[in-house]
């Protein structure tokens, strides 16, 4: 049966933030999809090809696979793909069964595949008698990894914490203990294989969520369900010209909106915040269907006529929904994807320029062109009636009335969020787009640091100098402007003291002999590398927070203000660089015992660090 628009929306609602039990999620979604006659959202997980190839008949040896990650990463889904690939019984997969066995042909010989699609749900004993206890099953798997030529191959899906915990309880088996340590090592060191062991350890939490975002969004906005919606328009109702669901879908297809959203995901990756696929789909479903005044806070086809009539469609603003603005505060705080995205503080951060455009732009001649292009161009979520009314009330009120400022200021939050997603690329620098977030240097980070590094080009010198200046201010505790050298300063007693006035050494930014400072890219993460000698150096990983911290300190912020954690990190880095310096000195010839030589740091009137030598003669 062909899908109807209403059924598609009903199916999409299943992905949204509704109260539900999260176990067996994948199975539930498939059941609902079948019931509604809708094709589920499907895309190829980036690791799918590698996973399936491990079970192909022409692989050299049989390899067991562990799929780990957090809830919602797609582990069960991928297990299903493998089962399908190996022609497993479809009906069995659709049941509640957790443990499956099947004889398969791998590397030219027959082995038994044991598939556990969720280790948490594995019952202690098996009704079908295939294993005596959970521990014995785990011991059997351990043996298949430690002993060669085993006739068992396993595919297990488990959350990372639970995986290690389960192996801890697998009894006194030496194989189990060995395998547990192996898992821990692979997990913490972020590796997929150990040479010589028939094991593939895939941690789905390590997938960059920007790529998953691309795949999920593509699958969603191109789903045939939308064409069904276009064909089931209800006048002044569902999918009509003023329908917020349709409006949100069309805005989501806008490349600028998509790229700004993708930037946020990219920045989450760079901050080591992982977002599982399930949550990405939740975000998208909530974005399209969210409205604060409908049941479950997600719109249904039947709600639309009422919303249009009561003129409250502007509350379904896509831009506000991205941050869970339609949800209750407790619900929003309980879902980590909204918590991560809200960390950017979009809607709450602003600059005078942007707020002036929003508040006074309609009336002010100088700001009018900006206002027209950025706000008035969107009569639905931009300068709509509600906004104009609240704005004039705010501007013209004498200040005695308490109610109106609150109402306008909350619409301002929504407007600022909208601006973040809609300011055109050519105006982004002029209006300073990233002032709308708490990471003012995020745009620069993405475009002028990460971008060039990924293309193996050099980063601009000005940025490197700024980072070095920031480091110098933290290292010395003085408000120095030196940015051509890295000042390695200590205090007399500790390397980690707040103010360090003894200069140990200067490392030039421009290469000199073996010394240099440069920005590098490792595992897709930028880093600042300080090289002291051939093979002697240390690298500081530059995640978004550290980049922001150093840039702000370079521009005048006090090191203790933005992030204490960053401050401690940078001091620890100084300690490491000083240790590297000591390492280099050990290989250098000893200076003669003639004199003791100190260099005291001080600042000249401009802020350059000058060192004052103090010489002590060893009479």
């Amino acid at each position: 049966m062909s899908i109807t628009g209403a059924n598609w929306i009903r199916f999409l609602r299943q992905h949204g933030p509704r109260p539900r039990n999260d176990t067996m999620y994948d199975e539930q979604i498939h059941r609902v999809a079948r019931r509604l006659g809708v094709q589920p959202l499907n895309f190829d997980h980036p690791l799918e090809a590698r996973l399936l190839s491990t079970f192909s008949p022409d692989v050299p040896t049989p390899i067991s696979v562990v799929l780990t990650g957090t809830a919602g990463d797609g582990k069960t889904h991928l297990c299903g793909k493998v089962w399908q690939y190996l022609d497993g019984d479809r009906a069995a997969w659709d049941s509640d069964e957790t443990y499956f066995t099947k004889p398969i042909l791998v590397a030219g010989r027959p082995v038994t595949l044991h598939l556990i699609r969720d280790l948490t749900a594995l019952p202690q004993s098996d009704e079908q008698g295939r294993y005596t206890s959970k521990e014995s099953l785990l011991q059997r798997l351990s043996k298949s990894i430690t002993a060669p030529d085993s006739s068992d191959v396993f595919l297990i899906a488990a959350n990372d914490g639970f995986l290690l915990e389960a192996w801890n309880r697998a009894g006194e088996d030496p194989n189990a203990a060995f395998v547990r340590n192996l898992f821990e090592q692979l997990l913490v060191e972020d590796r997929a294989e150990e040479p010589g062991r028939p094991l593939l350890f895939l941690n789905l939490s390590r997938q960059p969520c920007a790529i998953l975002f691309d795949l999920a969004t593509n699958a969603l906005i191109n789903h045939p369900g939308w064409s069904a919606c276009y064909q089931s328009v209800v006048t002044d109702g569902f999918f009509s010209e003023h329908c917020p669901i349709r409006r949100n879908l069309e805005l989501l297809r806008d490349p600028v909106v998509l790229s700004r959203l993708r930037n946020l995901f990219e920045l989450c990756d760079q901050s080591d915040l992982h977002i599982p696929i399930r949550r990405i789909l939740l975000l998208l479903a909530n974005a399209i269907l969210g409205h604060p005044e409908v049941s479950d806070r997600l719109m249904q086809p039947g709600d639309i006529a009422r919303l249009i009539a009561s003129r409250t469609t502007s509350k379904a603003s896509l831009y506000n929904n991205f941050f869970g603005g339609n949800l209750s505060e407790t619900k929003r705080e309980s879902l980590e994807i909204f918590e991560y995205l809200n960390r950017f503080r979009i809607g709450h951060e602003t600059s005078n320029r942007i707020d002036n455009i929003l508040i006074f732009g309609a009336a002010d001649d100088a700001l009018r062109p900006f206002f027209d292009r950025l706000v008035a161009s969107d009569p639905y979520y931009g300068a709509n009636d509600e906004f104009r009314a609240a704005q004039s009330a705010y501007v013209e009120t004498s200040g005695e009335d308490d109610a109106s400022p609150g109402a306008f200021l909350s619409t301002l939050v929504s407007q600022r969020r909208r601006l973040y997603f809609t300011i055109p690329e050519d105006m982004a620098d002029q209006v300073r787009l990233w002032d709308l977030t708490i990471f003012q240097y995020a745009g620069e980070y993405l475009e002028r640091v990460l971008g060039p590094l990924r293309q193996r080009r050099q980063v601009e010198r000005a940025i490197l100098s700024r980072l070095v200046k920031g480091l110098n201010r933290v290292f010395t505790g003085l408000l120095t402007t030196t940015d051509r050298d890295l000042l390695l300063a200590t205090s007399l007693s500790y390397s980690g003291a707040r103010v360090s006035q003894i200069l140990d050494d200067r490392v030039p930014v421009s290469p000199r002999l073996h010394e240099r400072i440069e920005l590098t890219l490792q595992h897709d993460r930028p880093g600042l590398a300080v090289c002291l000698a051939q093979g002697v150096g240390r690298t500081l990983r530059l995640n978004l927070t550290r980049y922001e911290f150093l840039s702000r300190v370079a521009e005048g912020a006090l090191p203790g203000s933005f992030s204490r954690e960053c401050y401690e990190d940078i001091l620890a880095f100084k300690s490491q660089v000083l240790a590297a310096l000591a390492e280099r000195r050990r290989s250098e010839p000893e200076p003669g015992p003639q004199a003791l030589y100190l260099r005291l740091l001080d600042l000249d009137p401009v802020g350059n660090a000058v060192d004052q030598p103090v010489e002590v003669l060893n009479g």
Binding site: Y494, E565, E568, G619
Partner: protein
């Protein structure tokens, strides 16, 4: 009762004539007092260690458990230069000509220096041509002094111990100009610390790292050397400290923690703050552990709160827990007296003629009291006598020893009033850092870390350990779970925790590197 092979018999009474009685001392040693900051404790330790290292017997008692005799440095020339030298900055500011400044200063220091046999500092001119540079260096060294903001007399100020040239004992200089030793800043706890480390299982392995700290190669040590006129030969013998245990598990734990920190090979003197914190902690734990053993009850546990914005159940339990623990030493005193009262010989003496004299003799033998007529002038009845002993012992105990738990516990960062007005256990950041460095090698799973802290120190943070201590019925698991989560977040802020997913966190030691043993 103390194990005879482990408990050492007391020294002869003549060595400690000034002690009113020998009660605190038999339990904890001579002596463990409060009111010594952790850094002073460490500096006292260093003064002993340096002296012993000079003799060639660092951390090695060579079978002689008593007395601890050593000849620490005095270094009065250096101390005058650093801390009794107000004329120097004055002259440096006023006089710009180099030669004139030297003359003026040498003249003035000759008159104001104290406790130096011949105050001639002209040797400095050989090493420092420029007087103003000398002044700069001395003010730098003074700024690096330990606890420079405290208001102590100048003879009790300590330069940073860059090496043997900067290590000396606490002294006081009276009008006569001769330095004498008082035990108010260096109260002997540092000497006990030294003895504990000698008797720890890891003593042999600690010698090498300590010797490195005490070697004279460090440039700042050479600088301190240059400031002094040759080898300091003026030394006096110090002795009298007594530690009544041949071995003890608290000594072993102290030694293990020290060794773990030393093995990290931290640059320069970065290890010192951690050693200071751990020493104060272990002394406090020793104090309570010995008291608990004397009372024949379980070793104390510590319900630790990670400070929350609001008052929590954990805080209340922790406050009660602290009060309970502080009673332990007092109960130990009472138990000691009760042991005497219930001992066979006492009971026997009660029924014999001349009971009072016999009982008095027993007391003199066991606790060296009452010796003077003022000690006891009540009726000649044994019951009253022993009751008087109890009162006197508790009074004496309350003056100093009773406060050790609060004093060293507070110094270590374990006991605090932060955020409230009552004392309880709330580990601060420097204690948490020290615990991670001492216990975690490369990484350790968070649950395992909590368990280790419980097993080694008795610290309770999370619900599993709380259950062991409080039992299942009374327990509000959520409160302790939230407490453990706050600890995780705190460690993450300090850069010592890495989360893998919701259920999985690893405590990491950021200063551990692959070559660490």
């Amino acid at each position: 009762m103390a194990d005879a092979t482990v408990h050492i018999p007391p020294p002869r009474p003549a060595d400690h004539q000034q002690n009113e009685m020998w009660v605190d001392e038999q339990i904890w040693g001579h002596r463990l007092w409060d009111s010594q900051s952790p850094w002073l404790l460490f500096l006292e330790f260093l003064s002993v260690a340096e002296a012993k290292h000079r003799e060639g017997s660092l951390l090695d008692e060579r079978g002689q458990l008593y007395p601890l005799q050593f000849w620490p440095n005095k270094r009065m020339s250096l101390r005058n230069l650093l801390f009794n030298n107000e004329c120097m900055p004055r002259i440096a500011a006023r006089v710009s000509d180099n030669a004139a400044a030297w003359t003026a200063w040498l003249k003035e220091i000759h008159e104001t220096a104290q406790a130096v046999p011949s105050p001639d500092f002209s040797y400095l001119q050989k090493h420092f041509r420029d007087f103003h540079q000398l002044e700069l260096v001395i003010s730098l060294l003074r700024a690096a002094a330990i606890e420079s903001d405290s208001n102590r007399r100048w003879t009790s100020r300590f330069a940073f111990p860059f090496g043997p040239a900067g290590i000396y004992e606490d002294l006081s200089v009276k009008g006569s100009g001769h330095p004498s030793r008082e035990y108010i800043n260096f109260t002997r706890s540092g000497e006990l610390l030294y003895l504990m480390l000698c008797r720890a299982k890891t003593a042999a392995e600690l010698r090498a790292p300590l010797a490195r700290f005490l070697c004279s190669d460090h440039p700042w040590n050479k600088l301190l050397n240059i400031l002094q006129p040759g080898e300091d030969m003026d030394r006096s013998r110090r002795d009298g400290s007594f530690l009544p245990w041949r071995t003890h598990d608290t000594f072993d734990k102290l030694g293990e923690d020290w060794l773990a920190v030393c093995n990290l090979r931290l640059p320069g003197f970065d290890a010192y703050p951690f050693l200071v914190t751990l020493s104060a902690l272990h002394l406090s734990l020793y104090h309570l552990a010995v008291a608990a053993d004397q009372c024949r009850c379980e070793r104390p546990r510590f319900l630790c709160e990670i400070v929350a914005p609001r008052k929590t159940l954990v805080r209340e339990l922790s406050t009660a827990n602290f009060l309970e623990n502080t009673q332990l030493p007092r109960r130990a005193i009472e138990s000691l007296v009760a042991d005497i009262e219930q001992s066979p010989e006492w009971v026997q003496s009660l029924s014999e003629p001349g009971a009072f004299s016999l009982c008095k003799a027993i007391l003199l033998d066991r606790v060296r009291w009452p010796r003077d007529p003022e000690d006891y002038d009540g009726p000649e009845v044994p019951e009253t006598l022993i009751s008087a002993l109890r009162t006197a012992a508790l009074r004496r105990h309350r003056q100093h020893n009773a406060n050790v738990h609060r004093s060293f516990g507070g110094g270590a960062g374990l006991v605090s009033r932060r955020g409230t007005n009552r004392l309880r256990y709330a580990p601060n950041d420097s204690l948490l850092k020290a615990l991670v460095l001492a216990n975690v090698r490369q990484r350790m799973e968070f649950g395992e870390f909590l368990k280790r802290l419980y097993d080694r120190y008795g610290f309770v943070f999370g619900e599993r350990e709380a259950e062991l201590v409080l039992g299942r019925e009374d327990l509000d698991k959520r409160a302790f779970q939230a407490n453990a989560e706050r600890l995780e977040r705190r460690l993450a802020t300090l850069g010592m925790l890495r989360r893998l997913s919701d259920a999985c966190g690893y405590v990491i030691n950021p200063l551990w590197s692959v070559g660490t043993p």
